[in-house]
């Protein structure tokens, strides 16, 4: 298990505050901070400087893999490994195999994307530390870990307060 980092978190009560706070934090030069919210917030990626997710590439490649696998598998089993005269159809009845190939494409793509998402989000994690139990309900937070560039406990606390944090606390994340 990866070690959890210590740091300071500011708890906010509105969406606007936390977006502003994240924006400000980033402007301050912090790079490893996290912004937490109970729901996805419009503009938060921009505020935190998060790049577009790379999952679509996984989806695409996995989809292609699924398609190729389906194609090769149906071809090999039906036209190579054991050819059977079924209903007078050719051994390699591509049109009839398309549904299978299609379904495998989707299956591979979907499951790989999910796996990629789990990987990218660093989950599943068993009981990670929770900064505040209301963050998944109606509160928001910005967390700055201790190893971030220019981290200073005092400075960070002040920053949070200045941004309107309802609460600033030392936390583990």
């Amino acid at each position: 298990m990866a070690k959890f980092k210590k740091g300071i978190a500011g708890i906010f009560l509105t969406e606007e505050q936390v977006v502003k706070a994240a924006h400000k934090t980033r402007e301050m030069g912090f790079t490893k901070f996290e912004a937490l919210s109970p729901y996805p917030i419009h503009g938060m990626e921009e505020a935190c400087g998060i790049k577009r997710s790379w999952i679509p590439y996984v989806t695409f490649i996995a989809g292609l893999t699924g398609m190729t696998a389906g194609l090769l598998f149906t071809w090999w089993t039906s036209a190579v490994n054991w050819t059977l005269n079924i209903g007078g159809k050719p051994f390699w009845s591509l049109p009839a195999f398309i549904p299978i190939i299609f379904e495998l494409t989707i299956l591979f793509a979907a499951l790989s994307s999910v796996a990629a998402m789990l990987y990218a989000c660093g989950i599943p994690k068993v009981s990670p530390p929770i900064i505040d139990k209301d963050i998944t309900s109606h509160k928001f937070a910005v967390f700055i870990p201790h190893d971030d560039t220019g981290y200073d406990e005092k400075k960070v606390e002040d920053l949070m307060k200045s941004l309107g944090a309802a609460e600033v606390k030392k936390a583990e994340f």
Binding site: L84, N85, I86, G87, G88, K89, P90, A96
Partner: protein, 1033 residues
């Protein structure tokens, strides 16, 4: 033991009998538990055959265990070895026996009507299938459905296992020795009568005669369906007390008045063969005109069918004679005044019959034009009205007018059918008088087939001892003192001369399963013990010796042709039959018709509703009522199974406002029965018909109380029995059932299914009405380079006799499902015969079409099977791997011919023992949940291929005969390699203009061809209903 062609009677047994020895592998092992006799005594297991509650009661525990078992098996399949199996070889191996290779024995079988030469196929000493003996001049390899099915009666679990004493209907075990002692004492008192069914065997006849001479006994021969009226008519007309031989093959015009010669009359299998051989050369094909009071199979095959009432039978025959002799003044009788006087009352026959006079005249003209090459027949139960004898006289007269006697009717070769109702009537009278002290009844069941008001049961009470040789305590057994079970025909020796000059040997093919004894040996034993009778009766120890001796002294001199007797005997056993050729060639000598016989032939009053009793193709007289295959076999015309019923016309049903399946009370005088109603197109409005042979009460679990006993309605008198033309009335009872009809719809709906053409159309164009479609495929298909199997069915030859259906059932271990499941559409037959009605319902004509798996090259069933359980073989077969099938039934949906059959329940493994001994070990018994269908008898293909390999030769046309083809009396089925240019089937595929593929436009590319049916009805065109509209793919 001088020969090696047969197993032997039980007394004479120096080799390990196959039934006792053990070496069973796989199926045999499972099937052939040596303790099967004990097992058979065990409780009756639930099978789908039985309706009722066994299912509900039985499933819970057994099936729960099965479920548990399945999951355990899954969990442990990979580490547990299979259960230990044992192999028990012979101590001494019989020479003629090779394991897993069938032996064929020639034999004979008769059910009181037709008699057949058989080849009995045995495996490891047990008969598994009967086929016709190709050497037999009458059935020539073919068999009827009943003959195919009678093998099942050998393994009937309800057969008696030993002699019984019966008291008040209760049977108790006795020992043969004790019985013999008592019987011999009784026989000494005199007054002995031996009542038997018809005996065709000369040896048996001689033995009974010897016995009768020894004990001063009387022999009475009686059959429920006796054909006595023919003999009487012959006697009155010509002075010959016999049933002449008929040559349907030599007749160009055949007129049948209620003689169902393709279904049940005298020798239907032989007649089917003869009739169809007269239709093979279409250009000179015969014409069949049927005047039908019920809808008979013969009527269904008629070129021209006219519905009549039984009371009008005389009008038909005499009317035709009037047309020829009086109207046209033709024939040598033309000037005869007494003849003219006799014919005059029948002048207006056509009007009376309701037939267009010109059409009636046409029939007469056709007959006269083909004089000497025509044939008029009448008789059977349908022809047994009060005027039965007169009808026969009229028929004989007409045949004499047409100079057919000696040409198509031949008295020089008579059928050995000697049953007499009159004799039975007299017997009953003398029993009532107390003249009979001991009655020995053999293969006769008067308690069932004689109406109660004859008082047979009461008369029996005056008989001191009644001995019955039946194989069960049936209707007759229940009122006997002793039931001394005879061997099953397959367990006993014998011979048969069904028609003069056709002698066939009757070999046993299995050692007796139970402690039974043949009547022959019983008679010999009693004579020996009483020290009476001729020496040849009392000296031999077993009947086999008597038989051999009889052949040596009586038959060998006539047929021996200079061979040594041993050589002669071996040859007889090998060929199974010797024939003088009498039945193959007509004698040519006509007889003089006694015109005075005509004086009694007067028109019969015709009024009200008339009853027709008739035998069915499935059951004939009802003897085999406990054979489930026959119940499952649809009636060839009505397609109803598991019931008899009263047929009425559509108009009559409307008048009665009764629906199909409603129970009706059929009343004749004071007698009545209740049967469900069946609405029969093409029936005369004033006729109701009911089949006999049903309503058994002592047949056994399968046959008891199925339908009603219509014999009860017959009218007995010292002049004979009236089965037909009795005045009857119908009344609704308010009860209702469903008739298990296997066919859902009776019209072709204008589709190109059975294609017909008239002879005129055929003469113009040999491919008449065979409209070919242009078909194409987006696939290029697969090449078949070696053999490719194909089948052709000539609809012009198929008469719908249904022998193929039962043959297939016997060959392929096809289960029986019972009425309940028949009603739910779960019949299992791999080949079915579709019967469609054509034309107006009130005059419906019928066509037949056997349909089995068509083994399509582009098989739609194969494409949709998810697990590739059904695929195409390299020789063009649509293979079905049962063990791969998971049972999605998609293939059945996708089969346009609907020939696939599904095991809805566990059918085969629940078969009651020892019925399982009949199973063909070459064919897998199918478990529940798998699909099955016709395989083109792939097991036969495979064994023929193996045989060719063993013989180091190539296969040739005819090596493989499918079971259906083998049994077909009309050669309608041809099977072979379509890639072999010399094979019969390939010639039909390539050059027969009548051949077409069913649903050709669908382009499943079937490997079966049907050939257009030709109707020789004198019409220019065949207006099929709706003809063939559309359907172009």
């Amino acid at each position: 033991m001088s020969d090696m062609h047969h197993p032997h009677e039980n007394q004479n047994n120096d080799m390990t009998s196959p039934a006792e020895s053990k070496y069973w592998l796989s199926l045999e092992q499972w099937a052939n538990d040596p303790e099967f006799i004990e097992m058979a005594k065990q409780e009756f297991k639930s099978t789908p055959l039985r309706e009722g509650n066994e299912k509900e009661e039985g499933w819970a525990r057994r099936e729960f265990l099965k479920l548990m078992g399945a999951s355990m098996a899954l969990a442990t399949a990979s580490c547990v070895r299979r259960p230990v199996q044992k192999i028990v070889p012979y101590a001494k191996q019989p020479e003629e026996l090779t394991f897993a290779v069938p032996n064929f024995y020639t034999s004979t079988w008769s059910d009181g009507g037709e008699s057949f030469g058989l080849l009995v196929k045995t495996r490891e000493g047990r008969p598994i299938k009967v086929e016709g003996n190709p050497n037999h001049p009458l059935n020539k390899g073919a068999l009827s459905a009943r003959a195919q099915a009678h093998i099942l009666s050998l393994y009937d679990p309800e057969r008696l296992k030993g002699p019984k004493k019966v008291d008040g209907g209760k049977a108790s075990d006795v020992k043969w020795d004790d019985v013999d002692a008592e019987i011999v004492k009784q026989l000494g008192k005199g007054g002995v009568v031996v009542l038997t069914g018809n005996m065709t065997g000369p040896t048996m006849k001689a033995l009974v005669t010897d016995f009768c001479s020894g004990f001063k006994a009387k022999h009475v021969v009686w059959e429920a369906i006796s054909y006595e009226e023919i003999r009487e008519g012959q006697k009155a007309s010509y002075g010959d007390d016999l049933i002449p031989f008929y040559h349907f093959d030599k007749a160009k015009v055949i007129v049948s008045v209620d003689a169902d010669f393709l279904g049940t009359w005298i020798a239907p299998t032989a007649f089917n063969r003869q009739f169809s051989s007269g239709r093979k050369d279409i250009k000179s094909m015969n014409r069949l005109v049927v005047f039908d009071s019920m809808y008979s199979l013969t009527g269904a095959n008629a070129d021209l069918r006219y519905k009549i009432k039984p009371s009008l039978q005389l009008d038909v025959v005499m009317g035709l004679a009037h047309e020829i002799v009086v109207k046209k003044s033709q024939s040598k009788f033309a000037g005869n005044a007494s003849v003219k006087a006799a014919l005059e009352p029948f002048a207006g026959a056509a009007q009376k019959l309701g037939i267009e006079p010109s059409k009636f005249t046409q029939v007469a003209e056709d007959l006269w034009k083909n004089k000497g090459e025509s044939l008029v027949v009448a008789g059977g139960l349908q022809g047994s009205a009060s005027h039965a004898k007169e009808l026969q006289i009229a028929v004989n007269f007409l045949n004499s007018v047409l100079e057919n006697d000696g040409r198509t009717v031949d008295a020089k070769a008579a059928f050995n059918l000697k049953g007499s109702n009159k004799d039975l009537f007299q017997l009953i009278e003398s029993m009532k008088k107390g003249e009979v002290k001991t009655l020995i009844v053999h293969r006769a069941n008067p308690m069932y087939a004689v109406t109660a008001d004859m008082g047979f049961a009461e008369a029996l009470k005056k008989v001191e001892m009644v001995i019955y040789t039946g194989d069960r305590v049936d209707e007759m057994g229940a009122v006997s003192n002793y039931v001394l079970p005879d061997h099953h025909p397959m367990e006993t020796w014998g011979d048969s001369e069904f028609a003069d000059g056709v002698l066939s040997i009757h070999q046993p093919t299995i050692r007796p399963l139970y402690d039974t004894r043949s009547l022959q040996l019983s008679l010999m034993t009693w004579a020996f013990m009483a020290k009476v009778g001729p020496k040849r009766l009392t000296t031999p120890e077993i009947f086999y010796d008597y038989l051999r001796e009889f052949w040596k002294t009586d038959l060998y001199p006539k047929f021996g042709k200079g061979k040594s007797f041993d050589a002669f005997w071996d040859e007889v056993l090998q060929t199974g039959v010797i024939s003088t050729g009498k039945v193959e060639k007509a004698s040519g000598s006509g007889r003089n018709f006694k015109t005075e016989a005509l004086s009694n032939v007067k028109p019969v009053k015709s009024e009200g509703t008339e009853l027709v009793l008739y035998p069915t193709v499935q059951f004939y007289d009802g003897t085999l009522a406990n054979v489930a295959w026959l119940h499952e076999l649809p009636d060839p015309v009505t397609k109803v199974t598991w019931d008899n019923y009263v047929s009425v016309s559509i108009a009559t049903a409307q008048k009665l406002s009764a629906k199909e399946g409603e129970y009706m009370e059929v009343t004749v005088g004071s007698k009545k029965i209740e049967v469900p109603l069946h609405i029969q197109p093409g029936l005369h409005d004033d006729v109701v018909s009911v089949a006999v042979g049903y309503g058994r009460t002592g047949a056994g679990k399968v046959g008891n109380n199925i339908g009603a006993n219509a014999y009860a309605l017959a009218q007995w008198s010292k002049d004979g029995v009236v089965y037909s033309g009795l005045s009857a009335s119908l009344k609704k009872t308010g009860k209702k059932t469903q008739l298990a009809c296997t066919q859902g719809h009776h019209s072709m709906e204008g589709r190109k299914i059975v294609v017909e053409a008239t002879l005129a159309e055929y003469m113009k164009d040999n491919g008449a009405n065979n409209h070919k479609h242009k078909v194409f495929s987006i696939w290029s298909g697969h090449q078949y380079n070696g053999q490719k199997w194909g089948m052709s069915l000539d609809l012009n030859l198929c008469t719908g006799c249904s022998a193929c259906v039962t043959a297939c059932q016997a060959e392929n271990n096809i289960p029986v499902v019972g009425k309940k499941y028949m009603l739910e559409g779960r019949e299992m037959h791999w080949i079915r015969i579709d019967r469609y009605y054509v034309g107006a319902p009130e005059n419906a004509e019928a066509v037949f079409q056997p349909v089995m798996c068509q083994h399509c090259d582009n098989a739609p069933c194969e494409t949709v099977c998810p697990v590739a359980a059904t695929t195409h073989s390299s020789d063009g077969l649509n293979d079905m791997a049962y063990n791969r099938c998971v049972g999605t039934r998609y293939c059945a949906n996708n089969c346009p011919y609907k020939v696939r059959r599904y095991n809805w329940f566990e059918y085969t493994t629940q078969t009651e023992k020892p019925l399982h001994l009949q199973y063909n070990p070459e064919v897998t018994v199918r478990p529940r949940g798998v699909m099955e269908k016709c395989t083109f008898c792939v097991q036969r293909i495979k064994s023929a291929r193996n045989q060719a390999k063993i013989d180091k030769r190539d296969m040739k046309d005819g090596d493989v005969q499918t079971a259906c083809q083998q049994s077909c009396p009309t050669d309608a089925i041809v099977f072979g390699d379509v890639n072999d240019p010399e094979s019969k089937v390939s010639k039909i595929f390539k050059t027969e203009p009548r051949a077409y593929a069913l649903l050709e436009e669908f382009n499943a590319a079937p490997a079966v061809r049907y050939s257009v049916k030709i109707r020789n009805n004198g019409q220019a065109t065949r207006n099929q209903d709706g003809a063939h509209k559309g359907g172009h793919a």
